[in-house]
Amino acid sequence: MSSPTKQHDSWWKEGVGKVLTTVSASILILTTLAIIYFIASKGLATFFSNGVSLVEFLIGTEWNPEGAPGQFGALPFILGSFIVTVGSALLAAPLGIGTAIFMTEISPRIGQKVMQPVIELLVGIPSVVYGFIGLSVLIPFLRNSFGGVGFSILAGILVLTVMILPTITSLSVDAVKRVPRDLKEASLALGATRWQTIWNIIVLRSSLPGLLMAIILGMARAFGEALAVQMVIGNTTAIPKSLLSPSNTLTSGITLNMGNTIPGSAYNNALWSMGLLLLIMTLIFILLIRWISKRGQA
């Protein structure tokens, strides 16, 4: 009696599952599209309705949206965002990859028992806490060591370095662990030292795509971080002269000013334009990651 009822039953269950998952996926897609549409329409209005020139927005250095006429040069924000992102990645990448190699190749036992929980803890600390520590420890330290106000690009870079370190480390650990054991053995069997093997087989070759991906994801996180950076960077809208000058980033610019602007005004729209720029950068990070992972498989 392999029965039609049973078939009907499974068809029905199949149908429910299909509908539920399709609905979930659709909601996600629709939300994403709606967000993109909203940011784009607001962000582009700056240029189409308010008549701000795109060139001025991208390379202008004067930011005074409330002036008459308003000035919309967002370069200080853009530059600030890029400098803190690249700076923190430059510091966090070697530290993170080095830690990952220590955890997997040099001392897996300490890696598993000590480092792994530490990294998980670091990931779990809210960004406001990082910002607060930066504000109360780092800023006075910088002020006493280098003079000036302490609030600076350097402070932003250092806080972000600590924040993206766990991301880069844990993704690097995964990348290094994926290196087949027999490749390491082949290298050692040729009389290479452990360090030569780690450097040539693990870092430079087999796990390179994974390590690059770890760095890029870390950069994406740094680029998008608002709160902690805003607390230590000083929030001035001038082109920074050195690492010790205060500056600003796209994210902190948005969070600080959004509440003070009238929706629909050129100022408000300009902030949306900065948001659009963040979205585009995120897209570029994602494309980079996809490109690298595709190359990694080849």
């Binding site: 053995e185 082949a186 290298s187 040729l190 009389g191 030569q196 070759r205």
Partner: protein, 254 residues
């Protein structure tokens, strides 16, 4: 045994993995320029024994090797032995082809570079002669700078042999080098082993009885970490002295 010259000897060699006594009191002499086959059922300790000869067991946590390994007048199973130099002189080829994620050229040049060869011309010569010795040169000479991963499994394994030969070792340890390959690639590897015998002392672990019979001069039969019988290959496969050996080679167990 005709030759009196031994390239390598072990005396009462034991390997422990933690509590497990994997290799028990093994004493084998390996005559120069001959092929010794190590046969036996899975888990009998033959690969473990092989890996202790170039100190690869050093890498395994909890592994302990006791006894003597005599090579070039020195007991190399000793903390003072120069392990890197030892591995240069006793090369190893693994079961699964494991070329580096590099070009064919860089795979071969890898070892020599670490042992001090930096001259480009010299490296070129080493790459060519190693590939020739491994009977791979004609197949890859036009694509030396292409990825080694694009080669077939059999070619990859010959590349791994060439990579080992690039250091001009005296002894070759082959750990089931053909078990992952198709019959044609296998016969190429076997042919190669026959040629290499003239210049190298070869120790090969194999699961394939016919292979052992075809290519080796002496055969050692392992069981549960012990050496049951060691003799000329002809002798082992025609008139084994021990019952266990006969049972194994006639396929009654294992």
């Amino acid at each position: 045994m005709v030759s009196n010259e031994y390239a390598l000897k072990t005396n009462d060699l034991n390997v422990f993995y933690g509590e497990k006594h994997a290799v028990k009191q093994l004493s084998i002499d390996f005559p120069s320029h001959s092929v010794t086959a190590l046969i036996g059922p899975s888990g009998c300790g033959k690969s473990t024994y092989l890996r202790s000869l170039n100190r690869m067991n050093d890498l395994i946590e909890g592994a302990k090797v006791t006894g003597e390994i005599w090579f070039d007048g020195e007991n190399v199973n000793h903390s003072a032995a120069h392990v890197r130099l030892l591995r240069k002189r006793i090369g190893m080829v693994f079961q699964k082809p494991n070329p580096f994620y590099k070009s064919i050229y860089e795979n071969i040049a890898y070892g020599p570079r670490f042992h001090g060869v930096t001259n480009r011309k010299e490296l070129n010569e080493i790459v060519e002669s190693s590939l020739r010795k491994a009977a791979l040169w004609d197949e890859v000479k036009d694509r030396l700078h292409h990825s080694a991963l694009a080669l077939s499994g059999g070619q990859q394994q010959r590349l791994c042999i060439a990579r080992t030969l690039s250091l001009n070792p005296e002894i070759l340890l082959l750990d089931e080098p053909a078990s992952a390959l198709d019959p044609i690639s296998t016969s190429k590897i076997e042919e190669l082993i026959q040629q290499l015998k003239a210049n190298y002392t070869i120790i090969i672990v194999t699961h394939n009885m016919q292979q052992a019979a075809r290519i080796s001069d002496q055969t050692a039969f392992f069981l549960m970490g012990e050496l049951i019988e060691l003799n000329d290959t002809n002798q082992i496969f025609t008139k084994p002295t021990r019952k266990e050996t006969e049972d194994y080679i006639t396929g009654r167990f294992g």
